[in-house]
């Protein structure tokens, strides 16, 4: 079978199309059409926005899944305050943010403008990794200024970059003209963000969800989805799944409903995610997955087809992860490379006794989540693929070809 590459198919909504309303056929919403689908911008004061975000337990859709209401409360309002939309989608399998920014850019911008007005600022920046999103957003901003005379000056910044550059603190470094790598000192953007100003920064989908929330109101927003995280979420599904590509689904669905029949190992949470034998009784929502030790991260779910050498797929990704280290932190630079070499040894049937030790040495030892995420990806892969590793040890190979289901090119810098 051929691997499903997510960017070749139009996004689909399973159930109610909300973020994807009007665009699930793959046609983008220009301003007039957008307004007819989602209505005019609805201003909210900060207290109302906070209480609405809290009422639907809205969580950030980038990676960390931080509560949006808490982040809003922590950001001091004022004219100096910055709003940063992080559209720097750096996960090779993920297409959800690009899909939003290309097909429904005004929804993302409505969310950003709502937050900016609630925080009493006009300073809005959108940071993206890819050209298509940058073009789409710039056109959208120009339309809004021409047709609606929008007072906010929305800057769209296109900065091609690597995996670790999608993290918000790395994005802020890039926006200030420095290399887009995570800084060593831990400072919260809400206190000291862009140019030292208080900054509300979140993922592109988070802003689109906020725009939906103020447009629908709490009750209608929470009509679908699981009680612990109402509403819908975007996912990118890949590999041996019923429908590959970007999907919008109500939270609370059983994971099996998305993966369909199939027996291959399952990856939840992308290249900093974790491997599973099977979806089991898992339910799709950030809180319920996190309870089971499975962060959804940027919403990538992939299953390897039966025809590929799973260990070779893991080798390809671990080697890429080693290459993606910013090279700033010793334990990551040397540790991730050593782990990747160890997995190559296992592929060729050689013993790699150092791998477990090297994986343990990555925990918590870096300026960003790269070493921990890599340890999660490789560590769980070696557990789930124990039989396959054993087969490679005994025979030097498993006999299956490497299909390259998990892409390792940097999809962002095309």
């Amino acid at each position: 079978m051929t691997p499903a590459l997510p960017d070749t198919v139009a996004p689909v909504a399973f159930g109610s199309a909300r973020l994807l309303a009007g665009v699930s056929g793959g046609v983008s919403n220009e301003l007039v059409r957008h307004r007819s689908v989602h209505g005019p911008p609805r201003p909210r004061d900060l207290a109302t926005l906070v209480s609405e975000a809290a009422a639907v337990r809205l969580l950030g859709r980038g990676g960390a899944g931080f509560p949006v209401a808490t982040k809003l409360v922590a950001t001091p309002p004022g004219e100096r305050t910055e709003v940063v939309v992080n559209g720097s989608e750096s996960e090779p399998l993920s297409r959800k943010d690009r899909t939003l920014m290309v097909l429904t850019p005004h929804l993302v911008l409505d969310g950003a403008v709502t937050v900016a007005r609630a925080l009493g600022t006009r300073r809005v920046t959108v940071a993206v990794h890819d050209r298509e999103s940058a073009v789409s957003l710039r056109n959208a901003v120009a339309d809004r200024q021409r047709v609606e005379d929008e007072p906010e000056q929305i800057r769209v910044r296109h900065q091609p970059a690597r995996f670790v550059s999608g993290e918000i603190r790395a994005v802020l470094e890039g926006l200030e003209g420095r290399p887009a790598v995570p800084p060593g000192r831990r400072a919260l953007p809400s206190q000291r963000g862009l140019r030292g100003a208080p900054t509300f920064a979140s993922n592109a989908e988070t802003f689109a969800q906020l725009a939906l929330l103020v447009s629908l109101g709490v009750a209608r927003y929470a009509e679908v989805g699981a009680p612990e995280e109402p509403g819908t979420t975007l996912l990118t599904l890949a590999g041996d799944v019923a429908h590959g590509g970007v999907v919008e689904v109500p939270t609370g669905l059983p994971l099996t409903a998305l993966t369909g029949a199939g027996a291959g190992p399952l990856l939840v949470g992308g290249y900093h995610g974790r491997w599973l034998d099977a979806p089991g009784d898992l339910v799709l929502s950030r809180p319920s997955l996190r309870e089971r030790g499975l962060p959804l991260n940027a919403g990538v779910v992939a299953r390897l087809p039966a025809g590929t050498c799973c260990l070779a797929e893991v080798v390809a990704v671990s080697t890429w992860l080693a290459d993606q280290s910013a090279g700033q932190c010793g334990p990551c630079l040397f540790g991730v490379a050593a782990v990747a070499r160890g997995v190559v040894d296992l592929l060729h049937g050689r013993a790699a006794p150092q791998v477990a030790h090297r994986l343990a040495g990555l925990a918590g030892r870096g300026a960003c989540a790269h070493p921990d995420g890599t340890a999660a990806f490789v560590g769980t892969a070696l557990t789930v693929l124990a039989d396959e590793v054993d087969l490679h040890q005994r025979r030097g190979a498993c006999g299956r070809p490497y299909l390259g289901v998990l892409p390792v090119r940097d999809g962002s810098s095309r």
């Binding site: 995570p182 700033q328 010793g330 030892r365 870096g366």
Partner: protein
Amino acid sequence: MKIEIDWTRCDGHGLCSLLLAENLTADAAGFPLIHTTEVAPSVTRHARRAVASCPALALRLEPSRPH
């Protein structure tokens, strides 16, 4: 107080693990392994010496978060 390591600065000189063995050991390459970040009052003096001795200025002492 608690110790914080700026991993982007740390070059694995390994002095900190010698001076603050209560909290840190070194891995094979000299990079510190933190056993506990919380610095006991009795070893604060050692911790300050470790911070001052780091050639890369990668080690800091920060106030513990109030509970």
